[in-house]
């Protein structure tokens, strides 16, 4: 067991390395009875670096092989987000490092946001709000009609914790729910399609809720967009890499897709400028889960995972690295 107590520090608590981007503000005041946070800028960093067993990754700070090389004793990476594609999972697996995520802490807010984006695109709220604020209602008359949510066929890509909550929320709106997922969930009443192309062919809207892996990169491609049809809507609250962004923009510009609600992009914070003038597109700066309750929830999950790790108990939200 690594030596956790040093004569030069005042703490008997286990150490966790804080891995964060320079501009990410981090306060660990909530955890000072559980662990001692050590950052690269800390004077004690050189002492703890070789022996630290835990790394906490803040937000979407990339954790790559070269970072892992700095911590030969690390056994657990504590992620603080729902998606963990910024962490080199293959490397972690190779080094026998376990990884945790935010678990379900963000799921409700993510699902709420996906529904919010969908209603906004179909009913054109953001566009109408702009219209009213520009003083156009008295001048140009009634705002153009939107499209009804009820009766729409919604295809959910990824029926995990977020996707399941999206489905539950959309049911009373009169939407027909179908999904494509790694595994069929026979306990749920929705229609399953084994591939996204079939799902798209039978849907009016696709809501992307799955994690980004090598297998799901560009899962929304031009074939899928074509199958969805020129009145189809894409809502993406997963990761930018799940959608072939160039193709998406092309389809929207050419009127071959009905609209899109996007929270994530391939190269954030860059957003294709062609989308800026489109009333059938609603753009959000990766904020689907930013509520105080979500943050409180992820703190609880982090604390729970840290406590579990340091007391050799099962981790709460361990990521399955064998996928």
């Amino acid at each position: 067991m690594a030596d956790l107590v040093q004569s030069t520090d005042n703490s008997h608590l286990p150490v966790a390395i804080i891995h964060r981007a320079p501009n990410f503000k981090f306060s660990s005041s909530w955890a000072t009875d559980i662990f001692t946070p050590i950052e690269p800028s800390d004077p004690l960093y050189p002492t703890h670096r070789p022996s630290a067993r835990v790394i906490i990754v803040m937000a979407l700070t990339p954790l790559k092989s070269e970072h892992l090389d700095l911590y030969p004793s690390v056994e657990c990476v504590i992620g603080t987000t729902a998606g963990v594609d910024h962490i080199d999972l293959a490397e972690c697996r190779r080094r026998n490092i376990r990884v945790t995520s935010a678990g379900d802490a963000f799921s409700e807010d993510g699902a709420d946001y996906a529904v919010g984006l969908l209603i906004d695109v179909l009913r054109r709220f953001s566009a109408a709000d702009r219209y009213v604020r520009a003083g156009l209602w008295p001048v140009k008359g009634d705002y153009p009609l939107g499209s009804k949510l009820g009766g729409k066929r919604v295809g959910i890509i990824g029926l995990g914790s977020i996707g399941t909550l999206v489905a539950k929320r959309l049911e009373p709106f009169g939407c027909t729910i179908a999904y494509s997922s790694r595994n069929r969930k026979s306990q749920l009443p929705y229609v399953f399609y084994s591939n996204v192309l079939d799902l798209a062919t039978n849907s009016d809207t696709l809501i992307v809720c799955c994690s980004l892996t090598d297998k799901t990169h560009h899962i929304i491609n031009s074939d899928v967009l074509t199958a969805l049809g020129n009145r189809g809507i894409i809502v993406n609250i997963g990761r930018g890499g799940l959608v072939d962004e160039k193709e998406l923009v092309k389809f929207l510009v050419e009127g071959k897709l009905g609209g899109a609600g996007l929270d994530v992009y391939e190269n954030e914070p860059e957003v294709p400028k062609e989308l800026f003038t489109m009333d059938n597109v609603v753009l959000s700066p990766h904020r689907a889960i930013l509520t105080p309750e979500a943050f409180e929830g992820v703190r609880e999950v982090m604390v729970g995972n840290l406590k579990a790790f340091f007391s050799n108990k099962p981790l709460l939200s361990e990521v399955n690295l064998s996928d």
């Binding site: 937000a59 709420d112 709220f125």
Partner: protein, 313 residues
């Protein structure tokens, strides 16, 4: 056969205009420059008025049409129709209930999400090219919140059903308690507001419900509270609402209706905790068609002496 003159009061739907035109002799009130002359020439043949939430059938219009038999409104709301006068004169009235319930309920939830999660503001922000990675601000969670609905009719019930799917606790105020309802009842709007995070106006506009959301109710809802109005502008004391929003006494508002449409208080334009849409409650292609079809079928039923489909009076 008697000419069947129909007076359309407002360009509410081009599809409806077309359907009416195919069946009746239609006049367009908004195109008439000299009303006195027009009524002198044509009032004898006008047997029906098709109105909406902009222009309905008030006493003055009814008196100009001595041959009027039926008013068919392209709305479920009846606040622009002098119902008492219609009753007195034996004029039938139909509206368009049920077909628009889903759209309006969807709008209510959509406005809650757009306002609490600041979706429209996000869209403005990104499209203005302002996004720098890492900057964020927390928004207000919707799931699990306490939703208070004023009016538990068709629309209020549909809103409640949707809110439940978001794990919300639903309470309501109504003229009288509904014993078969599973939602919590409050005997006054102030009490409902005090016990809600989000207050939704979903009742009919009558003399009793004018300004049902007043300063006291707004203060009870408070600086973290959200007001959603999908009813009628006059349900809310708009001056008081604007003061409360500007002064921070109310957390935010999602508004589809205003006291003096299409005019919206300009003080609201600069606020980022409000969402303002242009009376789009039932404004979808699908529902617009369903409403128009219902108006036409009611008129056809009337003119062929069959039972009206959705009579009010």
């Amino acid at each position: 056969m008697e000419p069947r003159g129909v007076l359309m009061t407002y360009p509410m739907s081009s599809y409806l205009q077309q359907q009416l035109d195919n069946r009746f002799n239609v006049f367009y009130l908004w195109n008439i420059t000299n009303r006195v002359e027009f009524f002198n020439e044509n009032s004898g043949s006008i047997r029906a008025v098709v109105g909406d939430t902009n222009v309905g059938a008030n006493r003055e219009l009814i008196d100009s049409l001595p041959a009027l038999e039926i008013v068919s409104t392209f709305s479920v709301g009846l606040d622009k129709i002098d119902l008492e006068y219609c009753k007195k004169k034996g004029i039938k009235v139909t509206n368009t209930p049920d077909v628009l319930t889903d759209d309006v309920a969807d709008l209510a939830i959509g406005l809650i999400l757009a306002t609490s999660r600041r979706i429209c503001e996000c869209d403005r922000y990104v499209k203005a090219g302002l996004w720098k990675k890492g900057d964020f601000r927390l928004t207000t969670k919707f799931s699990g919140k306490k939703v208070g609905i004023i009016g538990l009719g068709r629309i209020g019930t549909a809103i409640a059903k949707r809110a439940e799917a978001f794990n919300c606790t639903v309470s309501y105020y109504s003229r009288s308690q509904k014993p078969e309802s599973k939602y919590n009842y409050f005997p006054s709007v102030v009490e409902l507001a005090s016990n809600s995070d989000i207050l939704v106006v979903a009742c009919a506009l009558t003399e009793e419900t004018r300004h049902i959301v007043n300063r006291e109710v707004i203060n009870a809802l408070g600086p973290d509270g959200l007001l959603i109005n999908i009813g009628r502008g006059p349900h809310v004391d708009e001056r008081e609402l604007v003061y409360a929003l500007v002064e921070g006494r109310l957390g935010g508002a999602g508004l589809d209706v205003f006291e003096n449409e299409p005019n919206v208080p300009e003080e609201l334009f600069g606020l980022d905790n409000v969402v303002l849409v242009a009376h789009v409650g039932s404004a979808t292609v699908e529902t617009g068609k369903a409403m128009a079809d219902l108006v036409v079928r009611n008129l056809e039923a009337h003119f062929s002496n069959k039972p009206l489909l959705t009579p009010v009076v």
